[in-house]
């Protein structure tokens, strides 16, 4: 089971979720995706959108400054 990282700290809604969906499509079932994003709109929306579309959001964690990490299992 591999772990992948995706940095969307430079993206805005809705491309944050588009990029996340693309990465999730590219990894294997069961793999972990760690998404790095900024607080505010991305942090408020991404975990919610992922859950709405049936993805398993394991963890939302503050890293440093405005950067947060959302861990999703495919």
């Amino acid at each position: 089971m591999a772990t992948h990282t995706l940095d969307i700290t430079n993206e805005h809604c809705p491309m944050t979720f588009v990029k996340t969906k693309l990465k999730l499509a590219q990894i294997a079932d069961g793999d972990i995706l760690e998404v790095l994003l900024t607080e505010g709109e991305p942090l408020n929306n991404l975990p919610r959108s992922a859950k709405e579309q049936g993805y398993n959001v394991l963890e939302v964690k503050h890293l440093e400054g405005k950067i947060h990490k959302v861990v999703i299992q495919k």
Binding site: P14, V18, K21, L22, L24, A25, Q26, Q53
Partner: protein
Amino acid sequence: MFDFSEEEINRYSRHILLKEVGVEGQEKIRNAKVLVVGAGGLGSPVILYLAAAGIGTIGIIDGDNVDLSNLQRQIIHTTRDVGFSKALSAKEKVNALNPHVKTVVYQDFLRSDNAIDIVKEYDFIIDATDNFPVKFLINDACVMTGKPFSHGGILRFEGQTFTHTPGSSCYRCIYSAPPPSNEVPTCSQAGVLGAIAGMLGTIQAAETLKYFTGVGELLTDKLLIFDAKTMDFRKISISKRDNCPVCGKTPSVTQLVDYEQSACDLLNHKK
């Protein structure tokens, strides 16, 4: 798989966002080959929406040239295209709208001697024609080759459409044969509100995208009819007939037929 460029991700982002389409659905759209028969009133919105959606290959067959009287509803063509091939004019707009789409142009009409060879190259066929002989030809060619298609027809303020997939009812399950020429609308009855073409063609484009992505329920065994005067939409159940002349148990139509066109249609094609 899923090797979309940054440009494509951006272009198709509103599809990718949909749970029911997503990256996987967009990939299916990209791999699809669709034939649009007729680059006129219905073909215009169909071709534009399919090109915008990123259908991988769009075949466009039309032997006509653009006439000034077409522009009231055939929105893929512009005033400067008058006199030029409709198929080429449509291809030009597709290229401008979405360079990722491959186009195959046939400056010809679909006939009994070319229909099978052309249809068999595609995954889905769209009847965007304006006359009964070709509608029967498309139906028969698709049934014989096991291809799904979208039927569409418009007149005055009304439109009708259904989708055929192998095993579901076909056009001849509803109408055994073309209507006699005295029942075909005469030239004076053949007016059409331009926007009706957009309404119906857009439904056909949506059905095509639903077919490839597997979203929802297609208009199979359902004839959708609408009357724009009242904006009434109705779905009528249709069923596959065991005694259908082409898809029934003992078909009488076993090869393609070129039915004669009404005088009005012939006049239009000579223009």
